[in-house]
């Protein structure tokens, strides 16, 4: 998305004849954009960091070293480690099928991939409870097998995976469309197996889209609150992810601790943005297209 914005901004606009007026308009627009970004993005983030450090760095570190906070961090990483690869595999398979073949239900599949974006995450969590919960469809059989999904780690992973389904597939579909079938057919006729074709031709050809998808998917999986909140059960140190833990601490008036944990998510988000822009720059340097 951001690349499209870059392109349209860099596209070049022919300014009207009066240079002084044009210059003035340009400055006003830039100032408005900057003010907006400052008020709604930079200020809150700065506030989070400032609040976290209000009682000094030692208090900050103590808050982060709390066993429950560490457990929340660990659980969040586990969720990311499962949800992102799952959605990678699904996203690649779905994008490939959609861009390479015509089949019944293709349009339905395209629409369904977007569903998690249009449905409220709370509904997504609720659906999980209805299917896997004690009184849900699969509840009795899961209980017989002694598997607990809801109010346990599997449910959190499931809910997060559901919510992050669209990201990889959405990024890949347009780039795979642009890539076309030619290179794959050439690879096959040169004797490559299906797996060799995928690994050596298809995926390297769409690697930029894939990396973007993985970045967005990871960011969302770390930050998901609504769906996870419904299925988690909020068991401190067991089914608490970072966003849930922040809320819990905040509700208990432990503001410093809440903002300290929140700052982890902010730092993760900043890292994502930095990685993305580095990647963007390298990509622009690598190919003129």
């Amino acid at each position: 998305m951001s690349s499209a914005v870059h392109a349209s901004v860099a596209g070049g606009v022919a300014w009207p004849a009066s240079p002084s007026r044009a210059e003035w308009e340009r400055r006003l627009l830039i100032a408005a954009a900057m003010a907006f970004v400052g008020a709604f993005l930079v200020l809150p983030l700065a506030f989070v960091l400032a609040s976290a450090l209000r009682n000094g760095f030692a208090a900050y570190v103590t808050a982060l070293a709390d066993p429950d906070a560490l457990a929340a961090l660990r659980l969040t990483l586990v969720v990311v480690a499962v949800a992102v690869p799952c959605n990678c595999v699904f996203g690649i398979a779905a994008a490939w099928a959609i861009t390479r073949f015509d089949f019944r239900g293709k349009n339905a599949l395209v629409t369904l991939i977007d569903l998690p974006l249009s449905v409220s995450p709370v509904i997504a969590g609720l659906v999980c409870v209805l299917v896997f919960g004690q009184r849900g469809w699969l509840g009795p059989s899961l209980e017989a097998l002694d598997v607990q999904v809801i109010f346990a780690v599997p449910g959190i992973v499931l809910a997060t995976t559901f919510v992050t389904v669209p990201f990889v597939a959405r990024e890949l579909i347009p780039v795979m469309q642009a890539q076309g079938r030619d290179q794959e057919e050439a690879a096959l006729l040169l004797g490559a197996s299906g797996w060799q074709m995928l690994r050596r031709v298809t995926l390297p050809g769409v690697r930029h889209g894939l990396v973007y998808g993985v970045i967005l998917c990871t960011a969302r999986a770390m930050g998901e609150f609504g769906a996870v909140s419904v299925v988690s059960g909020h068991i401190r140190g067991v089914t608490d992810t970072l966003p849930l833990h922040v809320e819990m601490l905040y509700n208990e008036y432990q503001f410093t601790a809440a903002f300290a944990v929140a700052s982890l998510l902010v730092l993760a988000a900043l890292l994502v943005v930095v990685v993305q822009s580095l990647f963007d720059r390298r990509r622009r340097a690598a190919s003129p297209a």
Binding site: D182, Q183, E185, A186, A187, L188, L189, L190, G191, A192, S193, Q196, R200, V201, P204, G205, R207, S287, P288, A289
Partner: protein, 265 residues
């Protein structure tokens, strides 16, 4: 190695792209399939390569029935109209691809592959460009890389889909003479598809004229121009001198370049 089409039929829904086509491309010959757009010529080539299915008929390569054999096992060289080079690989890696993907037991050692790539690049006169990426090359250079890549696995059959269609007029003329020379040097059976009458008549040993999925006439250039078998052949070959820009619009190739060619004629 000969290529035989026996009663080959291909449909897209209710549209018949190929209607019981019987055709033999003889061993060692350079055969051109010539026809307007929509005549089914590219379908014919893709079926021979195993890229497209066929509703009826059989394909024989050197007498062996390959109708149900997947494309990757047919060992044919294929050159695509838009090159289909692997954009993220260097020229050398592109050419080496067919050798790299072989199972370990039959794969050449790395040094052997490098030497072979060097020879192939020399053969297509691109010795110094092995480290470049496809987007750094001109259209003519890309098409020669595509050819080198197709020849790397030493196929005995070479299939070319409008190989010069996306190139400008002058490069096209040079390349087609060069292709003819290359074909004569290699012991190979070539089948190439084109909508350009001059190209077919100048380069090919034999020309197959295709119209609406049926073969109108097969013969050497002289036969086709002296004794056209149908009004269509006569008109289509006559068009070579008159209305080429119009044909080119239909085929989607560069009209401006076709216009230049006409003016130059």
């Amino acid at each position: 190695m000969s290529i035989e089409f026996i009663g080959v039929t291909r449909r897209f829904g209710s549209v018949v792209a190929l209607d019981r086509v019987d055709l033999v491309a003889h061993s060692g010959e350079l055969t051109a399939v010539l026809g307007p757009s929509g005549s089914g010529k590219t379908s014919l080539l893709r079926i021979a390569a195993g890229l497209d299915p066929l509703e009826a008929g059989r394909i024989l390569l050197h007498g062996a029935d390959v109708t149900t054999m997947p494309g990757r096992e047919r060992r044919v060289g294929f050159v695509f109209q838009h090159y289909a080079l692997f954009a993220h690989m260097t020229v050398a890696a592109n050419v080496a691809f067919g050798l790299d993907v072989r199972p370990r037991a039959t794969r050449l050692p790395a040094a052997g592959i490098r030497a072979r790539v060097r020879d192939l690049l020399a053969q297509v006169e691109l010795d110094s460009l092995g480290d470049r990426y496809p987007h750094q090359l001109s259209g003519g250079q890309r098409q020669r890389v595509a050819l080198a890549r197709a020849l790397a696995t030493e196929p005995s059959v070479l299939l070319l889909d409008e190989p010069f269609g996306a190139l400008d007029a002058r490069v096209r003329k040079d390349l087609r003479r060069w292709l003819r020379t290359l074909h004569d040097e290699l012991d190979i059976t070539s089948l190439f598809v084109t909508h350009d009458q001059d190209e077919a008549l100048e380069v090919a040993d034999r020309v197959v004229v295709l119209n609406r999925g049926r073969i109108e006439q097969v013969g050497v250039a002289e036969e086709l121009t002296r004794r056209p078998a149908s009004p269509f052949v006569s008109e289509f070959l006559g068009d070579a001198r008159r209305a080429r820009p119009v044909d080119c619009v239909q085929c989607g190739c560069h009209m401006a370049e076709a216009g230049t060619a006409l003016a130059a004629d």
